[in-house]
Amino acid sequence: MENNVIIALKNISVTFGDNNVLKDLNLNIRDKEFITLLGPSGCGKTTTLRIIAGFVNPDEGEVIFDGKKINDIPPHKRQLNTIFQRYALFPHLNVYENIAFGLRIRKQSEKQIKETVEEMLELVNLKGFNKRNITSLSGGQQQRVAIARALAVKPRVLLLDEPLGALDLKLRKDMQVELKNIQQRLGITFIYVTHDQEEALSMSDTVVVMDSGVIQQIGTPIDIYNEPRNAFVADFIGESNIIDGVMIDDCLVDFSGHRFVCLDKGFDKNEAVDVVVRPEDVDVTEPEKGMLRGTVTSVTFKGVHFEIIVDIGGFKWMIQTTDYHPEGANIGLYIEPDAIHIMKKSEYSGMFGDYSSFSEEFDELSEIDEEEEE
């Protein structure tokens, strides 16, 4: 494992003014992997990327590339390239010249340049666009030119800073698949920054969840989803009900006034814990058959399923079910042992996972805020 680490960040700290952007960050990136830095805006993910690219110098810590410290090496001498958030294509050059930019700096022959540019245009499905002006291209096409331009100089690592943020949903999905394909075909390392958890889960080999300048969890998408380390990760990746519980014994946890069998071990006896139950893992039953009982307080039709909010002893759960249950109905809930995930208490305990203030509108509003900030 250690051997094929291509980039290592060691004890990185960055401060802008009195804002501690990154706090003692450590991260190993393996060669040829698709790694995603995921987190809300202001979590330090873009700063991490800019440190790797060389646009930001960390106040403390070391950036290691291929075993060598590169803190003092300027961006233009690093063997990695960036796809910028708004592409940063050169408006005074056409598609061909944009892609050829890095090659001309490397003083390659016209023939070599032509070969590489054609190859890149084919890679990103833009054959025949050579003479087009950048401004005449759609967002998706500009995105492809940016990818071709960065890949033309054959970097060992490609850095992508929210590259799909400006595209509409359909195009974004297509580009996700395409980016993943390109990464696998070329066999180079992709370091991808996004705040979109779905994007992170569907593309990455490794996901790094960040918040307030600290890495919260590193793992495969499945690990991150199924075994979140704390309430922040559980809430940021997908929907989660996060309930206060007490670990009675190995594989036995008490929450919401009931003892549940679970699969988690290694906690102290009677340790206070956070219990995560995903909305899709709860089975709805008759009230008398359920382990827990509650009243439906709201129902939203989502197409594939209904999303219902259930009041259980004052705590509101979100549950996804394919059966309709009207508002005010009394229902029972049944939870399998493998649907329960136990987390140690953390600074995030109690901040997430309660749906009493939940509203779609609120969620959307806060998303808009996020985009404006960036």
């Binding site: 646009f55 390239n81 050169f90 050059l93 700096i105 002006n133 401004t135 100089v153």
Partner: protein, 272 residues
């Protein structure tokens, strides 16, 4: 469009009247005087007389080109340096660039006379530190200096305003693709500043070619420019017809050079 038809027409009436009075009518008189004699009869004599002034025309154009190039050489790095500073410093520096324009053009030119004269500021200083005085006033160099000094802000401003709006991520992208500092300037900043350079060149070249007064005061009468000749026809010789035909040719020359410039900037826009 139709909706605002009559309203828009009404609103444009004052402008149309203004344009007719102060743009169309003078143009008409220039053309009319060019092709008539003092008695008001049609003649081509004025046009024939122009051949006498070909050297003056050439000198005007030559001085204009030199002044424009010097302005460009000074303005480009200045604008670049200003655009790299913080907002507050940018505002102050731009204010300093504009400051001389708050004073009268005549006063500024007179002050240069005082500075450049054989017994002026510079030469008295040179004599004081034991260097032989240098003859500067009444030379071609002094005339060009006057033009550069007076028109430099017109070059700095358009270039600066383009540079200030440049997306810094372009510079980062250029670095990212392997450009060192020189390549960033050569391959990224210069080509993207071309629209500003073009309008700067137009804004300096046109007044430089047609200027008078600067050449009279700093050139001492031995570097007549076409503007001076035209002025004399109206102020001293009262030969409105010859003055008008000189103006007409100058106007055509300027329009031609602007057309050439616009051609470049159109091309620029297509790429940009």
């Amino acid at each position: 469009m139709r909706r605002s038809g009559t309203g828009a027409k009404l609103i444009s009436v004052p402008y149309v009247v203004w344009a007719a009075l102060f743009i169309i009518a003078p143009l008409f008189f220039v053309v009319y005087y060019s092709f008539t004699n003092a008695a008001g009869q049609f003649t081509l004599d004025n046009i024939h007389l122009l051949t006498k002034y070909i050297p003056t025309f050439l000198r005007s154009i030559w001085f204009g080109i030199v002044a424009t190039l010097i302005c460009l050489l000074i303005a480009f790095p200045t604008a670049y340096i200003i655009s790299q500073k913080s907002d507050k410093i940018q505002r102050t520096m731009i204010l300093l660039v504009m400051l001389p324009m708050w004073m009268s053009f005549l006063i500024r030119t007179y002050s240069w006379m005082a500075i450049l004269q054989d017994t002026g500021l510079i030469n008295s200083f040179l004599v004081k530190i034991g260097i032989d005085p240098v003859h500067m006033i009444n030379t071609g160099g002094a005339v060009i200096l006057g033009m550069v000094y007076n028109f430099l802000p017109y070059m700095i401003m358009p270039i600066y305003s383009v540079m200030a709006k440049l997306d810094f991520s372009m510079v980062e992208a250029a670095q990212d693709l392997g450009s060192n500092r020189i390549n960033v300037i050569r391959r990224c900043i210069i080509p993207m500043s071309i629209p500003g350079v073009i309008s700067g060149i137009t804004m300096v070249f046109v007044p430089s070619v047609s200027t008078f007064y600067i050449s009279q005061k700093l050139g001492g009468g031995s570097f007549d420019l076409i503007g001076d000749v035209i002025e004399r026809q109206f102020q001293q010789s009262y030969n409105y017809n010859l003055g008008a035909s000189l103006s007409l040719v100058l106007m055509i020359l300027i329009l031609l050079s602007m057309a050439v410039m616009n051609h470049f900037s159109d091309e620029g826009e297509m790429v940009i």
